[in-house]
Every structure is written in structure tokens, then in C-alpha cells.
């Protein structure tokens, strides 16, 4: 008996709670609406953006607890512009284009179209999902196209400086002046390596990396290959090029044939010495190293993109007593090459090989101009780091210094600047 009474009491209490809850929901008032909506064109874009700004709802207080307003919803009404001498097109309806969190009073609509003008309205939405009345813009705004993104003005300045330096140095070289280029030991040693092979009556081996011809390192390697082949032709030595990609083989054949021709020894060119082995990384390495052990080339060149095979190749070359010259831009493989080879072209040196070897004015000028760019970049990075460190260390940094760091970070070195 007592048990049934207890159950009834509990059911009554539950019913009371549900009824009270329902009453609370159904009686929640919508939040106060935002006010002062303005719409303007987003600057520095291609005419696709509009900025909508408003004043926060009075209920959207920073210290409100519990929070009344949780977000703002933005609706847009797109009105196609009337083409000249044509009848007006009928208006469409407001549709939601986005929302922002509480305490934010700005929305960037990036999906606008220059062929339309837009009206916007903003509603504050409470935690219960209740929307306030909408505040609506009164003037339709059309996005505008800006031809210059002024945020990237620094990029332009630096581009002009670096580009100007390139043009200037090209003119300097053309006028007959010598540009000083640091001696790159690896490239100087190419002649020595081919000479050694000639004296010892053995062949030269050239590996143009294991990636395809679309990789920039393979292209750089083939530039050096041209130089090696020219020297081999001049010294009347022999050159063997096993490749890992069929297209690299074709390109290598063309390159070597041209080098032999320009050295005046087209008769000495042997197409069969440039051959394709396999695309399989370690199958290729096994074939090449086996060949190295059997034929004992006196000069080995590794120029291109390498992975795990770098040390396998270089160690085998070292063991057979060859002079080895390597060049790659793969940072992880460089230590192996440096330790096992006689000379190693490191990263940029490898890409500079073409200018270094050809002494062609355009290439030399570009190389020197790029150096200027790198120098400026280095100075800016160092200055930026120092300033940022100072600002971080100071307890109350001057606002000017802080804004300078922000400016450097966001406009010169950041996404919009010199180092995008």
C-alpha cells in the first residue's frame, strides 16, 4: 500500500517538473535585436566580398552568465542589377548566408557577385534558439573590384628590388664585367673525376636520381650530366648512365648526344651506354651497385633526387676507390653523401650548377639577383626575430614596437608578404 503511494508521489513530482520545464521553454523571450547595421565593400579583393557590421544586441553582454545570445545569423537578399536597356529582374528573397559567434559584430560575405547588389539583415539568436527581430540594411550595396591588393604592397616592393637586381646583374655580366661566384668544389671536381677515370682507363658512372623527369632535381642533375658528358667526350673516356625511369633515359640520351656533338666527338657517342633498368627503387640499386663492383668505374656522379639508396650507392663507390661527386636537394640524404663522397653539391649549389657551368649572362645575373633576395629575406627574418623576442621579453612593450612586429609578421614576412 505504502509502495503504491510512493510511486504515485514520484509520478506526480515528475509530471510537475515536466510541466514547469515546458512552461519555462514556451515562455522564453527572444533576445533584443542588434542595431546599426552597415554594409560596405571588402577592400583589396576581386569584387567578391562585402563586410556586414552591426552593433551587438544589448543582451549580448561580455559578462552575461548564463549567456543569452549565442550567435548572430546573417541573411542576404541578392538583387540582380539591371543590365542597360533591359527590363528589371524581379527580386529574390532573404536567405541565410552565414553566422558568427556572440560578441562578434562583423561578417565577411565572400560569395558576393559584382552583377548583384545586396541587402543584409542580422538576427541575434538565444541559447534556446529564439531569434530576435532582424535588423536590416536599408541601402543595397554592390561589391567592387580592386585591381591592386594593397595588403601585398610589400611583396611588390621586394619583387621590384629582387627583379631589379636580376636585371641589373644581367646587364653587368653582358657589359663584360665578371661576377664573382664562390667556387663550388663539387663542380670544379667534375673535371678531376673524369680525368681520373681517363688515366685509370675506366668508365664514369652517372646516376640522375630515382625520380622522373618532372622533378626539378632530376632536371638539375641532367644539366650537370651535360657537362660531364662533354668532358668525357673531350677526354675520350667512357660514360655509363643507368636510369630508373624511361623518360629520364630518353632525356639523358638526347643530352649526352648533344654534349658529344658540341665537343666535336659525335662518333664516340654510344646510345647503349644509357639504359633503363627498373622503376623499382631497390631493384635499381641492386643492379647499379652490382655493376659498380664488377666494372669498377673510376668516377661516380650522383645528381638528382635520392632516398634510401643514397648511402648504398655512395658506400659502394667509396669501396671501389672511385672519386664520387654527389648533388641533391634532399636534406635527409645530404649527410650520407657528404660522408661517403669526395664532393657534394648541397641544395642551392646543385641548382646553381647550370649558371656556374655555363657562365651564361642571364643565368649568372639571375643567380646573383636571387642572392640579393635571399640576403634581404635573411635580414628581415633576423630583424623580425629580434623584435619579436624583445616584445616577448618586455613586460610592457611600447605599442609602436608591438604593432611593428605585427606589421612585419603579417605584411612583410607573413602570408601576405615576402614569404607566403
Amino acid at each position: 500500500m505504502q509502495g503504491s503511494i510512493r510511486i504515485r508521489m514520484m509520478m506526480l513530482m515528475a509530471a510537475f517538473v515536466v510541466v514547469c520545464g515546458w512552461s519555462a521553454i514556451s515562455n522564453a523571450a527572444p533576445p533584443a535585436p542588434p542595431s546599426g547595421i552597415t554594409v560596405k565593400d571588402a577592400p583589396n579583393d576581386a569584387g567578391t566580398g562585402l563586410i556586414v557590421e552591426w552593433q551587438l544586441s544589448p543582451d549580448d553582454r561580455k559578462d552575461a552568465d548564463p549567456r543569452v545570445v549565442v550567435r548572430y545569423e546573417i541573411d542576404r537578399l541578392a538583387r540582380p542589377l539591371k543590365p542597360e536597356n533591359e527590363t528589371p529582374i524581379k527580386e529574390s528573397k532573404f536567405a541565410k548566408v552565414g553566422e558568427v559567434n556572440f560578441q562578434l559584430a562583423k561578417y565577411l560575405d565572400q560569395n558576393a557577385n559584382r552583377q548583384h547588389e545586396y541587402l543584409y539583415r542580422v538576427r541575434a539568436v538565444s541559447v534556446d534558439g529564439e531569434s530576435s527581430t532582424a535588423v536590416e540594411s536599408t541601402v543595397a550595396v554592390q561589391p567592387e573590384l580592386q585591381y591592386f591588393d594593397m595588403r601585398r604592397a610589400w611583396y611588390l616592393v621586394l619583387l621590384v628590388v629582387v627583379g631589379g637586381a636580376v636585371v641589373y646583374f644581367i646587364q653587368v655580366v653582358k657589359s663584360g664585367k665578371d661576377l664573382k661566384i664562390r667556387k663550388i668544389a663539387g663542380l670544379e671536381a667534375v673535371e678531376e673525376a673524369v680525368g681520373r677515370a681517363t688515366e685509370m682507363g675506366r668508365s664514369c658512372l652517372f646516376i640522375p636520381g630515382i625520380l622522373d623527369i618532372n622533378d626539378i632535381q632530376t632536371v638539375a642533375g641532367i644539366t650537370v650530366m651535360s657537362r660531364v658528358a662533354g668532358l668525357v667526350a673531350e677526354y675520350n673516356a667512357s660514360l655509363e648512365i643507368p636510369t630508373c625511369r624511361s623518360l629520364v633515359m630518353t632525356t639523358s640520351r638526347e643530352t649526352v648526344a648533344a654534349a658529344y656533338l658540341s665537343a666535336g666527338r659525335p662518333d664516340a657517342y654510344r646510345e647503349d651506354d644509357i639504359y633503363y633498368l627498373t622503376d623499382e627503387q631497390f631493384g635499381y640499386v641492386a643492379a647499379v651497385t652490382g655493376n659498380m663492383v664488377r666494372k669498377k668505374p673510376a668516377a661516380c656522379f650522383y645528381m638528382g633526387a635520392f632516398f634510401a639508396e643514397s648511402l648504398l650507392l655512395a658506400e659502394t663507390g667509396n669501396a671501389i676507390g672511385a672519386i664520387q661527386v654527389a648533388g641533391t636537394a634532399m636534406p635527409s640524404q645530404l649527410p650520407f653523401f657528404v660522408a661517403a663522397c669526395d664532393y657534394t653539391l648541397i641544395g642551392e649549389e646543385f641548382f646553381a650548377a647550370s649558371a656556374y657551368l655555363s657562365h651564361e649572362p642571364h643565368q649568372l645575373g639571375s643567380l646573383k639577383g636571387q642572392d640579393i633576395g635571399k640576403f634581404i629575406g635573411g635580414i628581415l627574418i633576423i630583424a623580425g626575430c629580434l623584435l619579436a623576442t624583445v616584445v616577448a621579453v618586455m613586460t610592457d612593450p611600447p605599442s609602436g614596437l608591438e604593432s611593428l612586429v605585427t606589421f612585419i609578421r603579417e605584411n612583410i614576412l607573413g602570408e601576405k608578404g615576402f614569404m607566403p
Binding site: 663539387g186 670544379e188 678531376e192 677526354y235
Partner: protein
């Protein structure tokens, strides 16, 4: 040995007779023969001779790769005292018919062929032989004379090379100059060159067969003998030495660094026949920067041409002397530069690296000439030996060679070094004693830290202590100072270089050393190394005037 005598012994007899007159000892008998062995106060124990007649031994060398075996062959020939007329190599960028034409044009005394390591290339070496054999190079002396050809290449190619040459040449085979690329073996080739020089070249020169019978030791090419004595001295005393012999047509530079001997002949750098070439190679502004007097450039050009057509004239005026010594500075500088480029480590050698070498990968073929390691600098040749004042010789040496650290300066009094080189083979102790006492005139010691500094700022401070000298002081950048320290005296010097300057122990680190005096004394040089002197007259004249005054080079001009 020109006509009418056409006999080299006539000149030898005249020279010996002159020595006999000067020494008061009878050396030549009534038949014109040198009296040997000595009997009481008559005659001498031995007669030795060197020869540079007819321009000395002239050779052509050939090798497979210009920078490797061909360079070794050149070193062997130069070391033996020859002038290398041309180097034929597979990579000398000449077509075969051009190479054959060149071989036909040259008239060398002998040819040295090298190429290939032992077990290396044979095809290239045989190709070289196939260029030389049909060219049939003609020797300078004697129509019946068979051209001596020395083969010092890959031993496996010997049979084919022997087949390639016919009886028109005298082929000699010696061990490979570069049995492996890591090592040079120049001795056998050098010895063979000396043998063939006597057997073939000298035997066919007028009167040389008689001269050979007179000598107690094989006749050597003069420069080869100079090299031998320098090498003997350097090895005996454990020092690094450089010797220079500047002549009218050529300048020879010899060096021994860490036991490695090198010799170069700068064929177009000299003080009379080649003076025009010096002016053209160095450029008149570079020469004039050493001249502190006002001179008309047109007049100087006339002076140069006059010297070329009248090579035996000597300067008669102060201006002429200053100008000649300015030319010699540039000739010596250029010759030394060529020597540095030639005296290198071997090329084509496998390198051993560690990861630490990532940013410092030096190529092989670096020069072994290091001015900081240089201990002794010896000068010979007219313009240096016969300068009116010893200090002028010292100044020319210091300005041209730019010794670094502490270096002893000396000059060969009467060009005795070649004869001592031959004497060293007969009686080495006597040769060394004569070299020390009579051959070398010690000029003194040069102290010159390496580095650059702003003019007027401290360069180094010094403290010199000896029986006769007790000096303390400081030298500023750009300053030059001379202190007396007589010949035969020694002093202890402590040099404390300023920051950025190195006197041999590292930048800014003090050096203490015993130095020797000489006719000039001690030269304290704060001008920095590399010595920079502008070619602009307004800058060079005050600087050079100041230096000249500091050393009292030309007292007549002040």
C-alpha cells in the same frame, strides 16, 4: 760556343785561367788543360761543371690528362733543369693535326711521354706515341742525332709504345711517373733526363765531348743543379725554402715545402729580352705604383724597348734604377704567382671526408706554397744580386714575394748555387760549408704578420734582444721599419701581433723566435698581407716614398 771557336772548352779554359790569376794558384797547364789532382799549391782536386749553353736543356712533354700525368711529366722535366717548350695532352683542346704540327715545329732536345697509371689506360698513351712518331721531331743539334724519347707511363703499354716508334728515335723506358694517381715517382725520369742530357744533347754540342772528359762529376743543367742544392739545404736544415733566379729572358723559381721540391720557369718574365712582356702582363700602372719619382710614361716605354734591344745595359741614372727595380718587383711577383699555381698537391686523388666537411670541401690541386711556413728566401740574378744597395735587394724580395711571419732573406753572392749543387754530389759537406759561408749573403730577417688593418692602427709590438740590440716597440699598420743586426749575429725576437694579425702562431698570438742578422738587418713590416698598393699615383707615391725613406732605399733621391 759560337764560331770561330765553336768549342765550349775555350771559354772554360779562359775562365779557369782568370780564377787562377785572381787566386794566385796555377790551375791550367801549358796545354790549356786543368791540372788535376792538386799537387801542392798547383792544380785542383776536382773540376765540376754545369751547362746552360744554347738556352739550356729544352724539352717537350706529353701526358694523358693535362692536370695529372702531363703535369707530373712537366714537374719531372722542370725538376731536372729543363725548359718545357710545350705540353701535349689528350685534353689540351688541340686537334691531332695541330698537335702533330706543333711537335714538328718544336726542336726539343728530348721528349718525355707519360700517361696512365700502371694498369690504367693504354689507348690514350699509344695515341700520344702515335702523334709523336709520325711527326718525327727534329733535334736542335746534330743531323745524325736520334731524338731521345723517354717513356714513363703505364707499364702495360710499353710493348705497344715500343712498336709505335721506329729507329728514328732513341726510346728509353723508365718506371711510371704516376704508378697510381695518389703518388708521384719522378726520380727515375729525372735521372734518365740527366743521363740523356749528357749522352745525347751535350755530346752533340760543340766541344762538349771534350768538356765531359774533363769533369769529375756529370755535367748538370744549371737550373737542375740550383734545385739540387736548395733541396739539400732545405732537407739538411729541416726548413722550407724558396729560391729565385731572375734573368734577362726567364725567371726560375724553386721551392721546397715540407720536403716537396718544385721548380718553375717563367719563360716570358725577365729583365731584358722579356722586359716588354713583363710590362704588358703586369701593366704599366702596376709597375709605376712602385715608383715614387715623377716619370714620363712615354719615356719609360722608350726605356723598356731600349733595354730589350740592348739587354746588357745597366741603369745609369737614379730614375732608371728605380724603374728597373719596379719592373723586377712585378716580374718576380708574376713568376711567384705562376709558381704557386704549379706547385700543388696531386690532382685526381680520392678524398676522405666526414660530415664536418659539409661546408668546407676543398678541392685537390691546392698550392703547397705557404708564405707563412717559409723560412728562407734566396735571391739570385742580375737585378737582385747587383743592386747597388743590399737593402734594395731585400726590399724587392719582400715586396714581390710578400713573406709572412718571420723569414730569413739571403742572396746568392756570385751565382754559386748551381756549382754547389754539383759539388754536393761529390763532396756534400764541402758544398754545405761553402753554401753557408761564401755562397749566401744574408740580408737579414723580415717580420711581417698576415692580416689587414686600418692605416695607423697597431699592427704588432716587438721585443728584440741580442748582444748588440735591445729594442722594444710597436709597428702600426702601413709602417715599415729597419733595425740593424749585423751579419753573423743572432737575436731573440718576440712578436705580439694585434687582433686580426697572425705571425705564425695564430691570430693575435705571440711568437718567439731566434732570428739572424745580415747586411740589411731586421725589416719590421706592418703593411699587412696581402700587401695592397693602389695603382693610383696619388695614393701609391706617398706610401712608397714613406717606405723608401724608412728603409733608406734611395738616399740620393731624398
Amino acid at each position: 760556343m759560337e764560331e770561330p771557336a765553336a768549342d765550349v772548352t775555350v771559354g772554360v779554359t779562359n775562365a779557369v785561367t782568370e780564377i787562377a790569376e785572381l787566386s794566385g794558384r796555377k790551375l791550367v797547364d801549358d796545354n790549356g788543360q786543368i791540372i788535376r789532382p792538386a799537387q801542392g799549391d798547383v792544380g785542383c782536386d776536382a773540376y765540376i761543371s754545369t751547362s746552360s749553353a744554347g738556352g739550356g736543356l729544352q724539352m717537350m712533354v706529353a701526358g694523358v690528362v693535362r692536370e695529372m700525368t702531363a703535369a707530373s711529366a712537366k714537374r719531372a722535366a722542370l725538376g731536372a733543369g729543363a725548359i718545357v717548350m710545350d705540353v701535349i695532352a689528350s685534353n689540351d683542346r688541340r686537334l691531332p693535326h695541330e698537335q702533330i704540327q706543333r711537335i714538328r715545329e718544336l726542336r726539343p732536345d728530348m721528349i718525355l711521354i707519360s700517361g696512365g697509371t700502371d694498369g690504367g689506360t693504354t689507348s690514350h698513351v699509344v695515341q700520344l706515341a702515335e702523334l709523336i712518331a709520325p711527326a718525327k721531331p727534329q733535334p736542335r743539334f746534330g743531323s745524325e742525332y736520334r731524338m731521345p724519347v723517354i717513356y714513363a707511363g703505364n707499364k702495360e703499354a710499353v710493348p705497344i709504345v715500343e712498336e709505335t716508334f721506329d729507329k728514328s728515335v732513341e726510346l728509353s723506358v723508365v718506371p711510371n711517373l704516376r704508378p697510381v694517381l695518389e703518388r708521384e715517382n719522378l726520380g727515375p725520369a729525372r735521372d734518365k733526363i740527366h743521363d740523356l742530357f749528357l749522352e745525347h744533347v751535350m755530346a752533340h754540342a760543340p766541344g762538349y765531348d771534350k768538356l765531359i772528359s774533363w769533369t769529375d762529376s756529370p755535367i748538370m743543367p744549371t737550373p737542375g743543379a740550383v734545385g739540387d742544392i736548395l733541396r739539400t739545404i732545405a732537407e739538411g736544415q729541416g726548413i722550407n725554402a724558396v729560391g729565385v733566379d731572375i734573368g734577362g729572358a726567364t725567371t726560375d723559381v724553386f721551392s721546397v715545402f715540407d720536403g716537396v721540391f718544385n721548380r718553375t720557369v717563367s719563360a716570358n718574365l725577365g729583365m731584358s729580352y722579356s722586359i716588354s712582356n713583363v710590362c704588358s702582363e703586369a701593366g704599366m700602372p702596376s709597375i709605376l705604383r712602385w715608383v715614387h719619382l715623377e716619370m714620363d710614361e712615354r719615356e719609360l716605354r722608350n726605356r723598356v724597348k731600349n733595354k730589350m734591344i740592348r739587354p746588357t745595359t745597366i741603369p745609369q741614372t737614379l730614375e732608371a734604377l728605380v724603374f728597373e727595380q719596379a719592373v723586377s718587383r712585378e716580374a718576380l711577383r708574376l713568376a711567384y704567382q705562376q709558381h704557386k699555381e704549379f706547385a700543388t698537391t696531386l690532382k685526381g686523388v680520392q678524398q676522405q671526408r666526414t660530415v664536418g666537411d659539409t661546408f668546407s670541401q676543398n678541392t685537390s690541386g691546392q698550392t703547397i706554397v705557404d708564405n707563412m711556413k717559409l723560412d728562407l728566401l734566396v735571391a739570385s740574378g742580375g737585378v737582385l744580386s747587383h743592386a747597388p744597395r743590399m737593402v734594395q735587394t731585400a726590399a724587392m724580395l719582400v715586396d714581390a714575394f710578400q713573406p709572412e711571419g718571420i723569414t730569413t732573406l739571403a742572396k746568392d753572392s756570385i751565382f754559386m748555387m748551381p756549382h754547389l749543387g754539383v759539388l754536393a754530389q761529390v763532396h756534400s759537406k764541402a758544398a754545405l760549408e761553402v753554401f753557408e759561408r761564401d755562397c749566401l749573403i744574408y740580408l737579414g730577417t723580415c717580420v711581417a704578420p698576415k692580416g689587414q688593418g686600418q692605416r695607423g692602427k697597431p699592427c704588432f709590438s716587438y721585443s728584440i734582444r741580442s748582444h748588440a740590440l735591445n729594442e722594444l716597440g710597436e709597428i702600426s699598420c702601413g709602417e715599415l721599419k729597419q733595425l740593424p743586426l749585423a751579419d753573423g749575429e743572432k737575436a731573440e725576437i718576440t712578436v705580439e701581433p694585434a687582433r686580426g694579425f697572425d705571425c705564425g702562431a695564430g691570430k693575435g698570438k705571440p711568437v718567439r723566435k731566434e732570428i739572424r742578422g745580415g747586411t740589411v738587418g731586421i725589416i719590421l713590416d706592418g703593411r699587412g698581407r696581402e700587401l695592397e698598393l693602389s695603382t693610383k699615383r696619388e695614393q701609391s707615391v706617398p706610401a712608397v716614398t714613406q717606405w723608401n725613406q724608412a728603409l733608406d732605399l734611395y738616399p740620393e733621391s731624398s
